[in-house]
Symmetry: C2
Subunit: 566 residues, 2 copies
Amino acid sequence: MRVVIIGAVACGTKTACRLKRLRPDAEIVLIDKDEFISYGGCGMPYYLTEDVSHIDELRRTIFYVLRDEKFFQEIKGITTLTKTLAEEIDRKKKVVKVRYLESGKMEEIPYDKLVIATGSVPKIPPIPGVNLDGVFTLSNLHDAIKIKERLVSKKVERPLVIGAGFIGLEVVEAFGESWELPVTLLEYFPQVLPRFIDPFISRIIENHLKTKGVNVVLNARIKEIVGENGKVKGVRTENGFYPADLVLLATGVKPNTELAKKAGLFVSPNTEGIVVNERMQTSDPDIYAGGDCVEIKHLITGKGVVMPMGSLANRQGRVIATNIAGGKATFKGTVGAFILKCFDMAIGGCGLSLEIALSEGFKDATYALNIQHERAHFFSTGYSYYSLVFDKRTTKVLGFQTVGPFTDGTLARVHAISSILPSTPTIEEISSLELPYSPPFNTALDPIHVTSFIAENIIYERFKPIAWDEIIERLKKKDDKMLIIDVRNPNEVKDITQKYPNWINIPYQEARRKIKDLPRDKDLVVVCSVGARAYEAARWLINEGFKNVYVALGGIILPKSWGVEF
Amino acid sequence: MRVVIIGAVACGTKTACRLKRLRPDAEIVLIDKDEFISYGGCGMPYYLTEDVSHIDELRRTIFYVLRDEKFFQEIKGITTLTKTLAEEIDRKKKVVKVRYLESGKMEEIPYDKLVIATGSVPKIPPIPGVNLDGVFTLSNLHDAIKIKERLVSKKVERPLVIGAGFIGLEVVEAFGESWELPVTLLEYFPQVLPRFIDPFISRIIENHLKTKGVNVVLNARIKEIVGENGKVKGVRTENGFYPADLVLLATGVKPNTELAKKAGLFVSPNTEGIVVNERMQTSDPDIYAGGDCVEIKHLITGKGVVMPMGSLANRQGRVIATNIAGGKATFKGTVGAFILKCFDMAIGGCGLSLEIALSEGFKDATYALNIQHERAHFFSTGYSYYSLVFDKRTTKVLGFQTVGPFTDGTLARVHAISSILPSTPTIEEISSLELPYSPPFNTALDPIHVTSFIAENIIYERFKPIAWDEIIERLKKKDDKMLIIDVRNPNEVKDITQKYPNWINIPYQEARRKIKDLPRDKDLVVVCSVGARAYEAARWLINEGFKNVYVALGGIILPKSWGVEF
């Protein structure tokens, strides 16, 4: 059996190596247009931060062998053709036409089974100046090397990143933290991590970026990347000019499917990804595809999506290898689990954000927000924020987002939720999860439990949530229909009640006795630090017959974490 | 509705508070024989380590209010009777007979619904000397206070802990690390954490304890705790005498069910726990029970177990409150998830250990072991160890164990596995889990995936595993039927091949070419650092027609982590 694999970064090399282990007799040809193959692409931002001291660290096995052409050829026994471009697939003849880029020579390579793992290409925004010297993407090791060279040779004083997605945020940290450079971040959408994270969480990240000295510019409508003598000088938006001597385009990627299209394979018009079945076969059963170039099923919406994640590419490569070797393996789809480090924060999630859930037709989608220390207070590293997005009617969980201090605590919570999310659990199933407990790691009821309890209380309408955006808006308008009942201790409240006439302090300890006399014609908004005491006081108010009782979702810690000052 | 709750630590107070929030009109009476109620019992070891500076830190809410009788009485509106012993339940009259311990006065308290949350009592070994001055258990705050007083007043020079379970290991750390005392740990079984952790993992912990200066004595058959003038002087076992001026009995707990038995409620003869249904009702539907005193269903064996864990007690309290309030909530059972810190290590797991799985009748139970850095090597904190216990015939997962550096990485993996374990996943379902990935947190294929891949390779018999115990035994016997093929780099192997004639080095890079000439009549045992290269080389050997090819499970890092020197 002769298997040709086009693309040798994540999915392609995983397929090749696993297949060789399963079927040592198989003849495998691995083709890549680049000289760098089988590298840890997700580690590139850490080459910029200098956590990775040499680019080869991203190319080595854990036992320090460089994964180059020779490694695959000699150690793995896989015919490996680097600097070789696959130009065409002739499905009738079952050959791949390749061009050896150094010699220019062409050759036809026959296959019994073919694997397309051509990855993705960066989306370049349609603006002038993208080809100026000093404008980069970070889509392969060459990019990483070039950017690092500029940093090392002190040629960068004012870096600018366009796009506040995963890569954008990781690179902003590299520039800001490791190189101590004043970095500007331009984002088209009104928030960082659009689509993945909802605004009530993303503002926490924005504020963190600002405290780290990053110039965060949202709603940035870029007109032009401005140059002088061919070199980048800055970026002009509808509202201003941002000087820069290095611009990183982190505006996303799209599937690299030219070859597949030309071969007549079915490519999704919606996502531009190659269509594959659960066994990762394309519309031609002898041709498999995996990694960033394919469309996969989103397990919450049921729709096709492109999800360019290294972890998925590796798992897909394994599935392809098993199937080519004669086994039966499937890749069912994705819940879009992600995690990233951004300065001192860990950010993670899975499933749908509230915004996407609503836009995907989940009209009863809402969310519960929990703020707490992720572990016992005597081991605490500070506040973490957890949000479960769910359908209030069916009580099904739709998504989960969390930010917190840079520990593995965030990983732990996303690991748990993303593990069960494909089975579309209800909120009750989340609150019934068995999770281990010990004070150095978490709380007796894990943050996941507490978040699901808040969701349950929303589902059963035990309290009416109110968003801080609305509270702040009504405060600004001096809306005297609203009365804020702040149940924190007097020393926590400080002078806030003097500043706002419709903000009164009734300490939690006294609230049960004192609430009876509150006005019955107002919207009573109960607030505390994180929401627990407010919820309890709200229950007392409801028991006393008060009708319009609201609990601020997240407590006052939430707007404070956005940078709001009262 | 009048609800009486006996026991006010974890389950009891959770029931009371939640019920009051759901039904503010309910009349709730909370009874406890102690003055200390509603405290974080799992935090007691950290009071001994001094992470918790004052005992009241274990009694406070997150917003610094002491959870004492007054707090429950005045703030929560719950009638709270401390220092009050529930002596008898008259189910016909529906009253609880209580004795006020200070006055000696008796009273009958009527109930509509009753909750038994009487917790557990320490198991005291049947040996002489347990009542000597200086012999303690750590079952409540009084114990913690007394032990801490001795430590603070420098009365402890040689502490000794009996029992290497969760509490035992946590307290050993407190004595050894925080107080820098030479501590002895005696354990009846031939390993630490018996039943929960299998020996190939527990030996890693034992070696860690030894490197921290702990005198670990396994297989300890204790004859007597020896005293002089009423004070403890040491512990005598069948094999020796261990001097000690403080002895902690950490020999487990048993359900406190005297009251329930006397009331004629059904108590399991096997586990001694009160029998409850999924709604946490006892054999009397008006009486609920929860926490350490009940028997719950083990979700892997289907059998009743007693699982004294604070996290379960809290969740059960919530279920009881919901049901009493008229809702429908269930507690389905447990997979026994646990986590603990022990010096610089995090230890966690869920489900069954291999030993227990075999003893519970899973005759095809076996395990896969994975050793790897839990995150990208440029963020590494060192090796972690992961073991999946599974049924080789059904491929169902039975349990999971892990030890690693003290990060939340261990929590993350147990969170993921324990979340899905109740649905009795197959190994393939574990290898298909979607888990988020980023280099600061994990590897592209998470350690969970890699462990499940090893399990798959065992299921499909892609390699024959061999345990290090057997290898070491055969090395000792100079068994020349065995030939060890060490595929590490020559600099990793050092002089080991000179020491053992049947241990040869064929570096991985050269192995494909050189293996052909190996003897065909021997048991070839392929080893490397962690097992990955050995597995691949074994596949090459099998492809060359070699029959008796074995891969050392875990690589040479495993016995080294046990303290074995080659």
